[in-house]
Symmetry: C2
């Protein structure tokens, strides 16, 4: 998979994420940021080469590659299920139930890292996956948080409940998000753009939480809702 | 301008927004929601006709028109500057300084209406405008809140400050958003996706407010930041 962008490369190197090769533009019109990145790749023993802008553009099918394309190999490296053994105390897990839009996924990854969350979980089927667009929208932060794919979300929720997580589903309810205690080990379930959380997943949640809204609006963009709830969790845990 | 979608038409009719014509699909495979919309349009004396799906698709260049395309005339009806005389007590104004992305604009409009905000302001130049995509992403809520275009944002900020508004710019600072008093007449300035708020606009703000972030992340998607700040304002004003 070819991913692109300067922030993306920076996060890949920060995460010591293994890649096949880095392609930098061979254009003479480089700048300090790009030269710094080349030095950084060299210092960390990453394999890299130079190629014309046109070649980079063909690799990622986009002209805004910022002079950097990275071949990260066949597939993005998702987390292994034993990740649960390695979470910190008072962890935050975000579960995305059949999210569809790569821009929403990328924005949620960015909010997850910024709000000190520990793990993102998506189902294997009927879900957006990690793509070059998702990685770009996440400004490379997809490399900074483990992302786990599970076969069965309901089963996964049962597993983390046994491990002491409280599972909150974002849905219409009488529980106002800022009146709930969201400290401790917490999992937040966000639903799909059109239909919200599936019934069978919702029934597994310990409680539903809502963002009160005016003017009869009944939902927000899912990446906005996720951001509001994640930063409430972060705020409560920071106290 | 042709806009599309069922939520969009519903909000147009709710807002009594004048349109040139509504085109419904002539497909026999209609459903209750669509029939209800046709009845609603009829009841409110909107001019409408029927056309093949292919024609609708050609009008909006998209296949997901949901059987509804609306000709809203040459241009979207922006608010007039005398809107300031008609705002409620303790109003909330959102100022978007050279926002570029239609998805961000649409998501912010949705959050603005849901958080009971009163007015959205954009500059005439170098800014995303109201387009069919923006309207669709706003789930039609662009018709539910006045949107004002101004020639000079700095001058506009001076005007509202004289009218008693406190103007907060979203930017890196030591002022944590939830520790600030955001009640009363409040304006929130959000910057552009790449560069934030322009210096000359920033210098007009009464204070800068920040969302504290972990892991050295220095910004969120702008529609997510706007959502977090707008719902903090809404929460404080609801108490």
């Amino acid at each position: 998979m070819y991913v692109y962008g300067r922030n993306v490369l920076k996060e890949i190197i920060n995460a010591k994420y293994p890649v096949k090769n880095i392609y930098f533009t061979d254009s003479k019109k480089t700048d300090k940021t790009l030269n710094d990145l080349i030095e950084l790749a060299k210092k960390h023993n990453y394999s890299f080469s130079f190629a014309p802008d046109k070649v980079l553009q063909r690799m990622v099918n986009i002209s805004k590659h910022q002079g950097v394309v990275i071949d990260i190999g066949k597939e993005f490296k998702y987390a292994e299920e034993d990740i649960l053994d390695n979470l910190k105390e008072n962890a935050t897990i975000i579960i995305l139930d059949q999210l569809q839009d790569p821009h929403n996924f990328g924005a949620i990854i960015r909010s997850a890292v910024a709000s000190n969350s520990d793990l993102i979980v998506i189902p294997k089927d009927n879900s957006v996956e990690i793509t070059p667009t998702v990685i770009k929208v996440s400004v490379g932060l997809a490399f900074k948080i483990p992302i786990l794919k599970v076969t069965n979300l309901s089963r996964f929720i049962d597993v983390i409940k046994k491990r002491g997580f409280w599972v909150y589903g974002a849905d219409m309810s009488y529980n106002i998000y800022y009146e709930m205690d969201l400290t401790g080990n917490v999992a937040l379930v966000m639903g799909n753009e059109g239909n919200g959380i599936r019934e069978k997943v919702k029934s597994r949640c310990d409680a539903l939480i809502s963002i009160p809204m005016a003017n009869n609006v009944d939902s927000l963009n899912v990446s906005v809702s996720a951001g509001i709830l994640l930063f409430e969790i972060f705020k409560q845990k920071s106290r």
